[in-house]
Symmetry: C2
């Protein structure tokens, strides 16, 4: 058995209820490694790319990687992938937490789920045995309630579950792991809902075999020390990702009022990491085996937005339910976060859809009657809380927003579409490309649509990453120029994608020395891959997913930033600055080997060893 | 009468009680402009540089500038200067507030005070009439109490006063303006105390005449808009100077545990601007006529460190009584700030002296008996509060610390001196030169000793200043390299010094366009000075004060950083980095025209029109 892998994959057909194990050749593992890279390979080899995302034949894949379960910091990650119901193209999302190491211990590296069950079920994995069980009693329960029920027999059981939003096919429905970690982006919770799969639980006693345990231990210790020595890791441990709210306001990173305002320090004070820590934090929390511990546990004890003790909002949520809505009440953000977690909704897309609604309400495009009598004035969080329920349950105006910002705007009317800030149907995350031009290119070229995680650009463009030395690149950048950014993004994708396929946290990709990651991967797998091999795997991942998207209809016409972020801001640190889209794309296309249609050139496919894609694109 | 000036200066001899007005030729004003520049000119022309700072013959000068009283944002500034009792060389400090425009309205551009009164007095300025009055009843009162008494007849009276620390000749005694603004550095409050001058009050009805009122108004409006458009100004308005605590922790700017630790995000959360704003701020506050409004009004209502509503701590104080002491309790910082304000003590030097004591206490150099039974463990603020009173009143160990860190360490013993972090006897302000090498050079070369304000380096090296365009300089810098820093510091001094002589706030020097400042200055005075003229005035100021220091004994041997900040940190954003002192000094000496002794070369003195200094240095 290949070291670092549990060795078995699981295929589940929910229509028939058949579960069967299968294996993947080591030659394929060496090329695609794991995570969503391996998912994309399985997808193109065996499934119909043209099926509707919510059709039974579309697969949902839950994938770990070879470092998962090793105990190395930041490796308790997994990816869920398939076709996105929100964007209609390749969809994927990853998170940390507790599920993936347990799934490996239970004997599985990955699961591919097709079909649709006639009644609600959940999938149970335990030491190499997969079983489906009735989940009728769980249907309708929120993610926290579902998790509590499924963990009741044994707290060591790890749970993945959807809530009402996933059941009701909300296009940005999320999947939750143990009430604290969420597969949010691209709406794969709706795919799970369409299959009537309420949850997946895992419990196992397996132990990961490593190729060189002594060397691995040495590297795992080195990683702990590198985390200890890192300023970025220190700030994440102390303030969580919301550290970025205060610093981002100084650099023009934070979107405000649906991307129309450049600066509001009062908001960044009220919503930022220091205030979150001082007023609502009860303790820091970590994914399994991670010494960085960036997660927050918070509680709101007073006022109208009281919550139970639970996961605190990430920076993204403080943006999407804070600055984006002109809401400076952090308790309302924490409450909205709790509600999104319970219903199971991506906070970025959900908050962005509400920001869009508030803008259209202010402009008069939407009347009070159009929005079920709610007062959607900027910052009115009293109206946001019931709206969240309406979205999750597809009631009234909530049914419109449940389709996602772009689809909702198309339904509302043509002018509304201009106010949607998305790439390829995915709402932009909370980093303004006017402040960081490289991020603008990354948004245009990420395969799942506007994304801040399918590459290692974010902290790099902000001067806080260790990996650029690998390429003899600078380690400090002026965010507001487009020079040198195409090559930065190209390299940051090839390197950053490894986080996903190896299954190592995005933050660790910035914090750890590249050699430590490479050597630990090799000590676990024995693959002895060089940086060249690993970066080629990153290129292969990007190109394969791009090809899948091309086959689904994506062309160069889709590689564009929305008009809103090509309009200069008049205030704030990024005032007057917009990315040079044409130049960035032209330089990037050349590096990536894309033709003028935006397709990977045939020779690039040959070079990267993607014959399956080559035959489909150039048959 | 020269426009922009009240036209009269005041000479007060406290020994005889004689007050007499005098005027200064316009030719001198055009060369030295105002503030401490003009003070240095008066000093070298008429006073004994070798007298003890606390001797009656040493003058204390209170100087405004031509923009004061104009209504232009950020110009309610003044400087107090003379010989520093802390360092024994040129001393000066400036602050904003309410006093200087009132002093101008009362008819005075500057005051030079010599002698010593046989009994406590205060000086009263009202519409061209200066009078001394008995202050026996005020002696012993703190600054807040004194101010309340003196303002009781009329709230419009503006007050400068010292507290017990100034009376008791504490070497870092401060002078307070209206309970909210402080002349802190270099201990000039003790000079006031040595003269038994408890306070100066002003009330006037004069109006500043401007050369071109219409043009002035246009520029004053432009300045308000530039402030509105500035990210730096926005953050200062929203969070005060303490905004720098959070961002500084990311860049290695913040000193921790007497400069021995590189990073502590928990401290920066507890002490930073966002927490200050969320938990203790009641409102923002501004110096007279300033639209930036960076000052804080805060109150602590609960716990052991309750305060009345009053001025909140600046970033410097959150450093010196927070991170420097390993104290994360912001209420204790606010309380210590209030006590320093009441007693009248510079919070930087006072906190630094206490940090030194805590280090020596931990090392065993100081026993509990040595420090009057106080437990000076790191972070023990319960011991700090009584220690503040001991320092102000020179009781027990407080009497040792009242001499300042360097003198105290010399008294404690040789090894203790290595733990003092100072240049030329002045404790470093709260910006670590290991994170910003240019600041290291600025500390070495500032004429009052280690200083963050006698130049425009701070925000410039952090990439947030508008003035570098004037020199075709870059606007972003890597703090942790010494390349290009000598020329940056040289230019930033020549330009930044103008803040002092024109009397415009340090922050506005970063925020406003240089053209706006130049043109407003010219619209007020009609001097029609070019940038070349103004920068030459900056060079002249620096060189004159350097020459005064040379005459007082300063040589190149004094241009050194303390060993502590030449020792690399092992953690934090600046880990491993130290300024290249030799290179920085060599490049800077060449630019400044200093010989190997550290004296301005004779030709430089000729070039800058400083014949008085030339004849004294090269007689």
């Amino acid at each position: 058995m290949t070291k670092g892998y549990a060795g078995q994959f699981l295929r589940v057909d929910l229509s028939s209820g058949v579960c069967e194990n299968f294996t993947i050749d080591e030659a394929i593992l060496r090329k695609f490694i794991g995570g969503s890279s391996l998912g994309a390979k399985l997808y193109i080899d065996s499934y119909n790319l043209h099926a509707d995302p919510l059709a039974p034949e579309s697969p949902l894949m839950v994938m770990t990687g070879p470092m998962v379960g090793s105990g190395f910091s930041g490796t308790s990650r997994f990816a869920v992938c398939g076709k996105s119901p929100l964007t209609g193209i390749w969809g994927e999302a990853a998170c940390g937490g507790t599920f993936s190491p347990e799934m490996k211990r239970a004997g599985y590296d990955g699961i591919v789920i097709t079909g649709a069950s006639p009644k609600p079920v959940y999938l149970s994995l335990a030491d190499g045995v997969a079983k489906l069980a009735d989940a009728s009693d769980l249907w309708g329960k929120d993610i926290y309630e579902t998790t509590d029920v499924l963990k009741a027999p044994d707290k060591s059981i790890k749970v993945l579950a959807i809530g009402p939003a996933g059941e009701n096919l909300v296009k940005f429905a999320a999947i939750g792991n143990d009430k604290a970690h969420f597969i949010g982006r691209t709406g794969l919770g709706a795919v799970m809902g369409s299959k009537r799969l309420k949850a997946i639980i895992a419990r196992g006693s397996g132990r990961l075999e490593k190729a060189d345990d002594a060397r691995y231990k040495e590297l795992a210790r080195a990683a702990v020390q590198e985390i200890k020595d890192s300023t970025l890791a220190g700030s994440l441990h102390a303030m969580g990702s919301d550290a970025a709210m205060v610093t981002g306001m100084f650099s023009g990173d934070v979107p405000i009022k649906n991307w129309s305002v450049g600066e509001d320090f009062d908001l960044s004070i009220s919503l930022g990491g220091p205030t979150l820590s001082e007023k609502y934090l009860t303790r820091a929390h970590a994914c399994s085996n991670c010494s960085l511990a960036c997660k927050r546990v918070v509680v709101v004890k007073d006022g109208p937005y009281q919550t139970e003790e639970g996961p605190g909002p990430e920076y993204e949520t403080c943006g999407s339910f804070g600055t984006m809505l002109m809401n400076g009440d952090l308790t309302a953000v924490i409450k909205a976060n709790e509600l999104c977690n319970r219903y199971g909704m991506d906070t970025i897309s959900c908050g962005s859809a509400i920001a869009l609604s508030m803008e259209l309400y202010e402009k008069g495009t939407l009347s009070k009657a159009d929005v079920d009598g709610l007062d959607l004035a900027w910052g009115n969080m009293e109206a946001v809380m019931p709206l969240l329920k309406k979205i999750a349950c597809r009631e009234g105006f909530g049914d419109t927003l449940a389709e996602g910002s772009l689809n909702a705007a198309r339904k509302i009317g043509k002018d509304a579409v201009d106010s949607v800030v998305h790439v390829k149907g995915l709402d932009l995350p909370m980093h303004d490309p006017r402040g960081f031009h490289g991020m603008g290119l990354a948004y245009m070229m990420s395969n799942r649509g506007a994304c801040h995680l399918q590459h290692a650009a974010l902290a790099t463009e902000q001067g806080m990453a260790s990996w650029p030395q690998l390429f003899d690149m600078k380690d400090d950048y002026n965010g507001q120029i487009s020079d040198e950014k195409a090559v930065l993004i190209y390299n940051s994708e090839n390197y950053g994608i490894l986080g996903n396929s190896l299954s190592i946290c995005h933050y660790l990709i910035y914090v750890l020395q590249p050699e430590t990651i490479r050597d630990a991967f090799n000590a676990i797998t024995g693959f002895n891959l060089s940086f060249k091999d690993l970066l080629e795997a990153g290129m292969r991942d990007w190109t394969l997913k791009r090809g899948i998207n091309n086959l689904m209809g994506v062309t160069s016409r889709d590689d564009v930033l929305p008009r809103r972020v090509l309009t200069p801001l008049t205030d704030g640190a990024a005032a007057g600055s917009v990315p040079d889209m044409k130049r960035l794309l032209s330089e990037y296309y050349a590096l990536r080997g894309l033709d003028e249609r935006g397709f990977p050139r045939e020779e690039k496919l040959a070079e990267l060893g993607l014959p399956e894609l080559r035959s489909m694109l150039y048959k």
